[in-house]
């Protein structure tokens, strides 16, 4: 019960902090002071109090988009175990449900973007759905590998099953898996090298351009939803890459939060040292991730 409450609190409170840490890291690399770590919280509160501008072209789909996206991402966040603690909702086959919830969220973001009739947003929507369709097979290969390790179809089980012993036993496979999932994490959350979350008006960007016309509370929902999605996929990554447990529940929560912040720093470092790759190269990189995780599965078959 305590774990469930902490899980809910963590999902609700922590995600914007990750964004702040990423921005802070990038600022440190650039030699700037940077915005405070809590900047996204201030932004969200500010946006919630603002009015909204709607395009005359839009219909109810545009208003429903952020709502459905946020709801789907929040439900998805209840399926993923945080640290060594089982998720509040877990059932056999929930990993499929998880992937499809993210799909639903993406679907609604994309049609809300197309609702504005802007060619920029149409372009962003096309790229978002196209790239994610290459990322999903990679995720499923990774899930099959993990399911085979833990003999289970629930996210809570397959992710908490990974321990340092598993790493020692199947190190090569795990290493490939971690690489693949890190690529998926960056692609799905539209980070560099796939997308640049800072640019709003260039032809190379994906996610940011889809939400150009959203404003006020709707934009707050979108920013928050994006942060939660980063948190959820980040938790997925941390569970596999950093499988340490002390046995003490509260201490484990501390380790988990620290690991998440570490991940945010890592993403910040990646964004600072890498350039965005060309759009046509993105599918190749994602197919590469698929091959990595398929290879991880093959190594498990021995």
């Amino acid at each position: 019960m305590t774990d469930t409450i902490i899980h809910l609190l963590a999902v609700i409170i922590v995600p914007p902090l990750l964004m702040g840490v990423i921005v802070k890291t990038k600022a440190a690399f650039a030699g700037r002071a940077g915005a405070p770590c809590f900047q996204l919280y201030y932004d969200l509160f500010k946006l919630m109090r603002k009015g909204t501008v709607f395009s005359e072209t839009t219909t109810w789909v545009f208003r429903a988009g952020p709502v459905v996206t946020l709801a789907a991402v929040l439900v998805a966040s209840l399926l993923v175990p945080l640290g060594r603690h089982a998720a509040p909702i877990s059932f056999s086959g929930d990993l499929v449900f998880f992937v499809y919830l993210l799909g639903l969220a993406r679907f609604f973001t994309a049609i809300a973007a197309l609702d504005t009739g802007s060619s920029f947003e149409g372009m962003g929507a096309a790229r978002e759905v196209t790239f994610s369709c290459f990322a999903e097979p990679a995720l499923f290969f990774a899930f099959i590998t993990l399911a085979r390790l833990s003999n289970s179809l629930t996210l809570s089980r397959i992710l908490t099953h990974v321990t340092p012993d598993v790493w020692l036993a199947a190190g090569a496979s795990m290493l490939l898996l971690v690489g693949a999932i890190f690529i998926i994490l960056l692609a799905e959350n539209c980070r560099i090298p796939f997308d640049d979350p800072n640019t709003h008006l260039e032809l190379t960007m994906i996610h940011e351009v889809m939400v150009l016309d959203h404003s006020g509370p709707a934009f707050a929902m979108i920013l928050y939803g994006a942060a939660v999605k980063l948190f959820v996929l980040g938790a997925l990554f941390v569970n596999i890459a950093f499988p340490f447990s002390t046995g003490n529940s509260i201490l484990d929560w501390g380790i988990f939060i620290a690991a998440m912040l570490g991940l945010a720093v890592a993403i910040g470092v990646v964004e600072s040292v890498m350039a965005r790759i060309r759009i046509v190269r993105i599918p190749q990189l994602l197919v590469g991730a698929t091959i990595l995780s398929a290879f991880a599965m093959l190594l498990m078959l021995r």
Binding site: T57, V67, L74, F91, Y100, G122, F140
Partner: protein, 732 residues
């Protein structure tokens, strides 16, 4: 022929052997002696021993042309289903007698009545153990006995059939009003025949009867899809369809002839009665795969499908895509159940062809510019998913994995029902768009949602369902397939079937692109041409059927237990498992938490939406134009088009589909010359393999034209020569 290695017992329908034989001849009267009554106790799930059919109430005997037909009539469920087929078949007759306008109304009422009766019968058999009877009619000598029986496999296909036919019946008079459009009489007559023949296909138990029903179905579909006589494109695709379907029928003729050669009769052999070692068994399976697979739209026999489904009137497309394709799936399942063993290659062939169709179908769909062609191509994908599920279960039978058998079959059967629902919804919805805007070209449409709010919301439901997103019904079928594949990845030493999971994910991803494109470009944004701007909401008669189907999608999505309950009898009897095994194994996908999570998703969505609406009421809302990145003179034609939306993925899936572009040449003498641009999606299978093949065949056979020159005397000579040769051969 024997398969010493690798052939493992196929448990299909073993339990049917207990009950498969004709049980009693009826009465002492010689006229009725041929009419058999067989209790259908195929299903241990709910069959109570001792419960037989109700009392016979009436007997009818008719003698036509020496062919004595004797039928027992009792008002049980099978009788209701037969009666519904009969009423549908004759529902078009008033059109001839009373004129097209009144006839169309009468046909609508008759068809609705018949569908309600039939659905009642199907549900009462499935849920309330209503008794069923086998009816049979004696056919002229060599053909055996025309038997009709309803079993669980038939019911699986009858259930969605009645619902979709009911919806199409309401839809038809509004979409194709006899007052305004030509060809309404033809449409009405053949719609009834089409529906009736599909019912007959599912309940026929005799090869000749089956083929007769099959041909009536195929030919009435031809007359339906060419209802729009003015359109040359439709004429052409009708011709292609006619050729393709008769290639299939040819294969089926061969198949039934071979079956007859083994069993000595055209009656369907009892389940599990054919040994794999029996001669011709490989040929039978291959012929069935060709004939039925072609009707189902399995790649590479799918080439007739997009044109045919796109050209037909929309409710006919709904029936063809939602129902007629399923008849191919029904046929192949029925034939597989005749065998007690299946060679190992069958499962893998199904799996590979299914996966190929799924990926290829959706890749071709993504590239389409035509609304209905896109939907038709996505039917190929869905048939591919169904075949993948069936292939998975056949592979499971070979490796004795009950989990693969159950997950594969359950997923495939659920998808059979689901696809009937959402594809019919989408086709009827596209009819509403065509009715309102007058074009099928995606890139000319746009902003339809503002003019048709009701239709657009319903269409969105269909789109979400077909992408397989929760909380609608499409998710449930896919969940079973994924669970089966991943479980195989866990337990199998060499998990080849596990690859189905990432493959389905890829298919799902491309499906999402396709349907975001379809919905986003057609319904949202601004109209891209005057046609799109002129659209208006459809009459209630057209929206109500779509509402019924959308409600069914939502209901089955939120209450998947009902869906599993509908398909479980068919799964249990096809896989010859006990109900306990089914319950135990299918619990790998627990439905209660899925329902809970779906409910949570909806509640959270409604709650957030409610808060957001409250907020919008309080805060000032400003209306402005879309942010054009500083460019003030935007026009609707600058919007992203469907072609550009799918351009990225089409360029990546070049193996299956490529786009042929004719780029403008703008070099003039002084000023740029007039230029035009054309884009066409070209399909690899069709354009690279089938078209050259047909061209070469045509070239090869062109020499045969010399013997066909229209001189009657010479033709008579041919006949005499043929007869003489045959007599020589016979007398040898």
């Amino acid at each position: 022929m024997s398969f010493p290695k690798g052939v493992i017992g196929n448990p299909v329908f073993q339990l049917f052997q207990k009950t498969g034989s004709p049980i009693e001849s009826f009465g002492d009267d010689p006229l009725f002696a041929r009419a058999h009554r067989r209790p259908l106790n195929a299903d241990p799930f709910r069959y109570k021993p001792g419960v037989t059919s109700r009392q016979v109430k009436r007997r009818v005997a008719v003698a036509i042309n020496n062919c004595e037909i004797s039928v027992d009539i009792s008002f049980d469920s099978t009788y209701l289903i037969l009666a519904s087929a009969f009423i549908m078949a004759v529902s078009g007759v008033p059109c001839i007698l009373a004129g097209a306008v009144a006839g169309q109304r009468i046909a609508m009422l008759l068809t609705m009545l018949a569908s309600i009766a039939g659905e009642y019968a199907a549900v009462s058999i499935l849920f309330f153990n209503a008794s069923t009877t086998a009816y049979s009619v004696e056919l002229p000598q060599p053909f055996g006995e025309a038997a009709f029986t309803v079993d669980n496999l038939s019911l699986l296909f009858l259930l969605p059939l009645y619902l979709v036919v009911f919806c199409a019946a309401i839809y038809s008079p509004a979409y194709w009003p006899a007052r305004k459009k030509r060809g309404a009489t033809r449409l009405t007559i053949f719609t009834g025949l089409f529906a009736a023949s599909m019912i007959a296909v599912t309940i026929a138990r005799n090869g000749v009867l089956f083929l007769m029903a099959w041909e009536v179905m195929a030919i009435s579909a031809y007359f339906l899809l060419t209802a729009d006589q003015q359109n040359q494109e439709t004429e052409r695709s009708g011709r292609v369809y006619l050729i393709a379907t008769h290639f299939g029928t040819m294969a089926l003729l061969i198949m039934f002839a071979l079956l007859c050669a083994i069993t000595g009769t055209f009656d369907f052999p009892p389940r599990c009665s054919l040994a794999l070692a029996s001669p011709y068994s490989t040929a039978i399976i291959l012929a069935a795969l060709f004939g039925f697979g072609g009707k189902a739209g399995l790649m590479p026999m799918h080439f007739w499908l997009p044109g045919a489904h796109a050209g037909a009137p929309s409710h006919i497309s709904a029936m063809m895509s939602g129902l007629m394709l399923k008849m191919g799936i029904y046929g192949i399942l029925r034939v597989l159940t005749f065998f007690n063993l299946l060679p190992p290659w069958v499962g893998w062939t199904f799996l590979i062809l299914g996966a190929w169709s799924a990926v290829g179908g959706i890749a071709v769909a993504a590239a389409q510019r035509d609304l209905k062609r896109l939907l038709a191509c996505s039917s190929i994908e869905n048939v591919g998913i169904i075949f993948t599920g069936i292939g998975m279960s056949l592979v499971g039978m070979q490796i004795h994995s009950q989990l693969l058998i159950i997950c594969g079959l359950t997923g495939a059967f659920i998808h059979v029902i689901n696809h009937s629902l959402f594809k019919s919804l989408l086709f009827m919805g596209s009819g509403v768009i065509i009715h309102g805007a007058g074009t099928r070209e995606i890139d000319l449409l746009g902003g339809v949602a503002r003019r048709m709010p009701v239709a657009s919301a319903l269409f969105l439901a269909g789109t979400i369902a077909i992408c397989g997103f929760p909380p609608l019904n499409g998710f449930i079928g896919e969940l079973y397939l994924y669970a089966g594949a991943i479980q195989d990845g866990i337990s199998n030493p060499l998990p080849l079937t596990a690859v189905v999971a990432p493959l389905l994910a890829l298919v799902g991803g491309v499906a999402a692109i396709t349907f975001v494109k379809l919905y986003g470009i057609v319904f949202l944004g601004q109209p891209r041409s005057d046609r799109g701007a002129g659209s208006h909401e459809a009459p209630l008669q057209m929206t109500v059927p779509i509402m019924i189907l959308a409600f069914a999608c939502l209901f089955f999505g939120l209450y998947p237990v009902a869906l599993v309950r509908l398909v479980s009898p068919a799964v249990i009897s096809t896989a010859a498992l006990s109900a306990e095994t089914f319950d135990m194994v299918s619990s790998v996908v627990p439905l209660a938490p899925v329902m809970l999570a779906n409910g949570l998703l909806i509640l959270l969505g409604l709650f957030t939406g409610y808060l957001y609406l409250l907020k919008l009421k309080k805060e000032p809302c400003e209306k402005n134009s879309t942010w054009g990145c500083g460019y003030p003179a935007r026009t609707p034609r600058m919007q992203y088009t469907g072609t550009s939306f799918s351009g990225l993925i089409v360029s990546q899936l070049g193996t299956f589909v490529s786009s042929s572009k004719v780029s403008p040449d703008m070099h003039g003498d002084l000023l740029p010359a007039k230029a035009s641009f054309a884009y066409e999606a070209t399909e690899t299978v069709l354009n690279q393999i089938l078209t050259p093949l047909f061209r070469w065949t045509g070239w090869g056979f062109s020499y045969l034209r010399r013997i066909q020159h229209g001189q009657l005397q010479v033709y008579i000579l041919y006949i005499i020569a043929t007869l003489f040769t045959l007599m020589l051969w016979r007398g040898r």
